[in-house]
Amino acid sequence: MANIAPKLPDGLKKEFEQIVAQYEFKRGALLPLLHKVQEHSGYLEQDILVGIAGYLNIPQVDVFEIATFYTLFNTRPVGNNVILVCDSISCYLKDEEKVFAQIKRILQIGSGETTSDGKFTLFTTSCIGACDRAPAMMVNDKTFFKLTPEKITDILKEY
């Protein structure tokens, strides 16, 4: 693996201990720990992944794999707000492409990119279970439904 000094996130020591204490087998705490780090710093830094591998006593390569396997984990810095636009079939049928194009136009970025002011990062995502109110997207933890290109302008203004 890469030559990286292991590190644990500052200020999360207690939370880490509390999480691990809930698991009979320490490895079971891995996803919850990664969620906690991301909640705290927005993304998963390499040196912290190495630190977590040491903390749980599991191979570094496993932690790197998991951090990249699950799409909700960010392994690179993201903007203050993360937008996930559903591009699965039910949203596609309801003109998700027009909505997505509008977001790209307003923010001047493509999928996987962050605006220059660091405000937004944009991703497409698999079905988010909002198909009856398609097209839909999430901004951070909040879901927005029945989107139209017009609605997008107003929603983005809220952030």
Binding site: R27, A29, L31, F69, L93, S126, G129
Partner: protein, 427 residues
């Protein structure tokens, strides 16, 4: 005809997500009945007699699964609720989780008692963070009232539930991949056997059940197996929540008896096709299922009848397409989903899913050769025959069914650089 609301009955009533609202509607009566009057094996027998089949997609008889797990001699066992709900077009578990979480908690506690587990886990997809927080609160409320914890309702039964948040991976809805995810691994399906009921989470006997399955339990306990069997079809008793989306006037969740026919689902309940358009096709069981067409309006929606019609019920997610749908574009959307969600372990699925996207992209843009349409079908045969797990086997289902039924859409893209269905499309 109104819907047959049993699971959805509390939805929309005041405070349905709170234990106060739930108790007002008769909540936790089934758990009281179970712990006070029934032996664990009597509950397993009751669920078996009711003929309940799993609502997560595979339709396995729930009582039988419980019996296998209960009879394993190992001591520590788990009951896990699969709340990963990732099949495109499915949004039925979301409504139960967000608006009736105590039904699930009660169902899990009853399952735990019947099987002999002290621990339940709800594996919920990361995108349902709102529901996950709500569940945490509901669990807290149930603990405070003594419906979870030690010696529940004074009985010799201890049971508690933990919520575990996924992180965005469709494959983790497959029960063995889900177990790997709970063990801090990338979610990849395990070889079966051994089955989870014998060697599941941490190699201990584990029952995995869908949200809707577990929410059905309390109704069976309160009303009996004969009542349940009177609903639905003889092969598949009970009601089913159908998630209907796409080009219908009234998309939504509809709870109806198993065996409701396609025509009624679309025209009587979902309000018919939008803009007075003609119906073109439906994916009856999410993006993994082969499509049905207008000739199938009379097909009864249950596990067996849909299999006989050449498709599958899956999670009960109907994705409806009207005459303006470009089947190449729709196929591409489905294909991209599977390319993205393939776990990457085995070649047929990982490579095949990518190839199909590649070819479909070129067909969509009018750049492919005609023979490549059949290349997709050939690739699909390979994926079905040699993929390691059901994801890869099902991945090409929709696309191949589109080619079979709407070959003109594909050919015209290539031959005439136009789409017969979507006149506005600039190929």
């Amino acid at each position: 005809m109104p819907q047959t609301k049993i699971l959805l009955k509390n939805i929309g009533t005041p405070n349905s997500e709170h234990i106060k609202g739930y108790l007002k509607n008769g909540g936790y009566k089934a758990l009281k009945h179970a712990l006070g009057e029934l032996l664990p094996e009597e509950i397993v027998e009751l669920v078996k007699r009711a003929g309940l089949r799993g609502r997560g997609g595979a339709g396995f008889p729930t009582g039988m699964k419980w019996q296998f797990c209960a009879s394993d001699p190992k001591k520590i066992k788990y009951i896990i609720c699969n709340a990963d709900e990732g099949e495109p077009g499915t949004f039925k578990d979301r409504i139960l989780l967000e608006q009736d979480p105590h039904s699930l908690i009660e169902g899990m506690a009853i399952a735990g008692y019947a099987i002999g587990c002290t621990q339940g886990i709800i594996y919920i997809r990361g995108e349902y963070i709102y529901a996950a927080r709500l569940l945490e609160q509901a669990i807290e409320q149930a603990r405070a009232k003594g419906y979870l914890g030690d010696n529940i309702l004074g009985a010799d039964f201890c049971f508690d539930i933990k919520v575990f948040l996924g992180a965005g991976a469709y494959i983790c809805g497959e029960e063995t991949a889900l177990l790997d995810s709970l063990e801090g691994r990338a979610g990849r399906s395990r070889v079966k056997p051994p089955f989870p009921v014998n060697e599941g989470l941490w190699r201990r006997p584990t029952t995995v059940n869908n949200v809707e399955t577990l929410c059905s339990i309390r109704h069976i306990l309160l009303n009996g197996d004969e009542w349940f069997r009177r609903l639905g079809t003889s092969e598949c008793p009970g009601t089913k929540i159908f998630s209907i989306s796409g080009h219908v006037n009234k998309p939504g969740n509809y709870e109806l008896p198993m065996g409701t026919v396609l025509r009624d689902l679309i025209y009587e309940y979902a309000g018919g096709i939008r803009d007075g358009n003609k119906f073109k096709a439906v994916l009856p069981g999410g993006a993994s299922s082969p499509c049905l067409t207008a000739e199938h309006m009379g097909v009864a929606f249950d596990f067996y009848n849909l299999a006989r019609a050449g498709s599958m019920l899956g999670s009960g997610a109907l994705i409806v397409m009207d005459e303006t749908t470009c089947m190449v574009g729709a196929g591409l959307s489905v294909a991209r989903f599977f390319e993205h969600e393939s776990c990457g372990r085995c070649t047929p699925c990982r490579e095949g899913a990518g190839w199909i996207v590649n070819i479909l992209n070129r067909i969509y843009n009018g750049e492919a050769k005609l023979a490549e349409i059949d290349l997709i079908v050939e690739l699909a045969d390979n994926m079905r025959a040699s993929s390691f797990c059901p994801l890869g086997m099902a991945a090409p289902n929709a696309v191949v069914s589109f080619i079979k039924n709407f070959r003109d859409d594909f050919e015209e893209h290539i031959k005439y650089k136009r789409c017969p269905a979507r006149k506005d499309l600039d190929v």
